[in-house]
Amino acid sequence: MRISRPATLSLRTVALLYLGVLLLLPLGVVFARTFEHGFGVAWGWMTTPAAVSAFWLTLLMAAIAVPLNTIFGVGCALVLVRGKTRGRKILDSLIDLPFVVSPVIVGLALILVYGQSGWFGNWFQQHGIRIIYAPTGMILATIFVSLPFVVREVAPVLMEVGDEQEQAAATLGASPWQTFWRVTLPSIRWGVAYGVVLTTARALGEIGAVLIVSSNVAGSTLTLPLLVYQRDAQIGSQSITGAYAAATELIVLSLVVLVAMSVLGSRRSVAR
C-alpha cells in the first residue's frame, strides 16, 4: 500500500500518543511519587528490613522457578517437536493452560491440594512440611504461572532448524547427549534465552497466585509485589510512598528484563 505523507504522520502520532499515555506517562508518575519527599525518604522505604527481605525473596522465587521451567521447557519442546510418541498432541494443547488460567485460580488450586483440608494437606502436615502460607507454596505458584514461556519460545525454533544436523551428528557416532550439547542446544540458544527472560519477568512480578498462598508476613513470605499491595492497603498517607518505592524497585528490575528482551529478541530474529 502506498500511504500519503500526512496519513503516515497521523498514524505515527496516534501510535506514539497511545503508547505514551498508556505506558510511559504512568511510569514517570510513579517515579515522581516515589521521590516527591526526597531521595532519602524513598531510600529509607527501600531499605527497611521488610523491603530488603522482600527483595531477596523475590529474586529467590525467580532463581528456583526459572531453572526448573527452563529444563522442563527445553525437554518438553524436544518431545513435542522431535518426538513421535502418540499423546504429545494432548500435552501440546495443555501446555498453554497457565497462560489463560487466572492467577487467583492457581492460588486457590494450590490451597485445595496442599492446604490444611486439601487432598495431600494431611500427609504433608504429618511429615511437618508446610506448603501453604510458606515460601514452598509461593514457589509452586510461581512455577505454575511461568511454565509455558520456554516451551513456546523453543518449540518454533526447533521446528525451524530441522533435524538434519542432529541426524548427521548421530551418523558420525555422537551419543544423544553429545548431539544435544554440541548441535541442538547451540542452534536453539537464543530461543532458550528469550524464554528464560520472559519466565524471569513473570516470576518476579507474580502477585495473584502468590498472594493467596502467602501468609503475608514481612521477613518470611513477603515478595516485592506483595509489599506494594500491603503498603498500598495500609491506612495513612506515608505508607503509600513506601508502596511507590517498592514499585520503583520492581520497575528497575523489569527495565533490566526489558533491555535483555530487546537485545535477545533481535538476536533471536537474526538467528532464525
Binding site: 493452560l97 487466572s102 486457590l108 548431539t179 509485589p225 511507590y244
Partner: protein
C-alpha cells in the same frame, strides 16, 4: 536420537505438568462439585456472581476489540513507518510483559487516583478497569501481527494498486485478510488474559465487581466451594478461547 527417548521424555513432561498444573486444576473442579451439581449451580447464579461475570466478560470483550484495532495500528507503524526512535518504541511494547501487574495497578492510582495530576478521577470505576486491562494486554496483538506484517509480500499490494485498487480496497481485500488470523489470535489471547487478570485490578477496581476479585474475596472469607465454582466457569471460558486460538492458528498455517 529422540525417537527412542520420546516415550520417557513425554512421560516426564506429563508428570511435571500434572504435578504443577493438572492436579491442582482437578482439585478446583472436584471442590466446585463436592456438594453436588445443585450447589455448584446455586453458587454461580447468585446475583453478585452473575454481575461479576457479565462485567468481566463485557469489559474483556471491549479490551480485546480496542486492543485489536490499536494493536494492529501500532504494529503497522512499527513495521512500515520509519522514524528515529523506532527501535526504542519497539522495545517499549514489551513493557507490560516485563512490568509486574501490581505496579501497573499502582501507576493507575498515581495517574487517576485521588491525587491525580490531571484531575482525572478514574480510579475505582469501570473506566480504570478498562485502562488497566488495555495496559496489560497491549503486547498480545502487536506481537502477533508484527511478524505476519513483516513477511507480508508487498508485491501483492503493489499488483493490486497497479490494477487500480484504491488504498481502502487494498487494505480491505489484501492486507486485512492476510492479517486476520494473527489479529484474531492476538485479541483472543488478550481476552483470555483480561478475564483472569487480578494483579493490575486489585488496587483500582474498588467496588467494580470483577470475577477474579470475587474469587479472591471468597478464598479470604473461607468459602472455597463458591470460589471454586466461579473458577470453573472462568476455566471453561478460558478453554474455549484456547480452542479458538488453536483453530485460527491451524487455519493460518495452511
Amino acid at each position: 536420537m529422540r525417537a527412542r527417548r520420546g516415550g520417557l521424555g513425554l512421560g516426564i513432561a506429563t508428570l511435571y505438568m500434572s504435578v504443577i498444573v493438572l492436579i491442582p486444576l482437578a482439585a478446583i473442579v472436584a471442590k466446585a462439585f463436592s456438594q453436588g451439581i445443585g450447589t455448584f449451580f446455586d453458587s454461580v447464579t447468585t446475583s453478585e456472581v452473575l454481575t461479576s461475570l457479565a462485567v468481566t466478560l463485557v469489559v474483556s470483550l471491549v479490551v480485546a476489540a480496542i486492543g485489536a484495532v490499536m494493536g494492529t495500528l501500532v504494529a503497522w507503524v512499527l513495521v512500515r513507518d520509519q522514524f528515529p526512535g523506532k527501535r526504542l518504541l519497539g522495545a517499549v511494547i514489551d513493557l507490560p510483559f516485563a512490568l509486574p501487574t501490581i505496579v501497573a495497578g499502582l501507576t493507575l492510582i498515581a495517574l487517576y487516583g485521588p491525587r491525580s495530576p490531571f484531575g482525572v478521577h478514574l480510579a475505582f470505576t469501570r473506566g480504570a478497569v478498562l485502562v488497566a486491562l488495555l495496559f496489560v494486554t497491549l503486547p498480545f496483538v502487536v506481537r502477533a501481527v508484527q511478524p505476519v506484517l513483516i513477511e507480508l509480500d508487498k508485491e501483492v499490494e503493489e499488483a493490486a494498486m497497479s490494477l487500480g485498487a484504491s488504498n481502502t480496497t487494498t487494505l480491505r481485500r489484501i492486507v486485512l485478510p492476510a492479517l486476520r488470523p494473527a489479529i484474531v489470535a492476538g485479541a483472543a489471547l488478550a481476552f483470555a488474559r483480561a478475564i483472569g487478570e487480578f494483579g493490575a485490578l486489585v488496587l483500582i477496581a474498588g467496588k467494580v465487581q470483577i470475577a477474579s476479585i470475587i474469587i479472591f474475596a471468597d478464598v479470604e472469607n473461607d468459602s472455597p466451594q463458591a470460589a471454586a465454582s466461579l473458577s470453573v466457569v472462568l476455566l471453561v471460558v478460558a478453554l474455549l478461547v484456547l480452542l479458538l486460538i488453536r483453530r485460527v492458528g491451524a487455519r493460518g498455517a495452511h
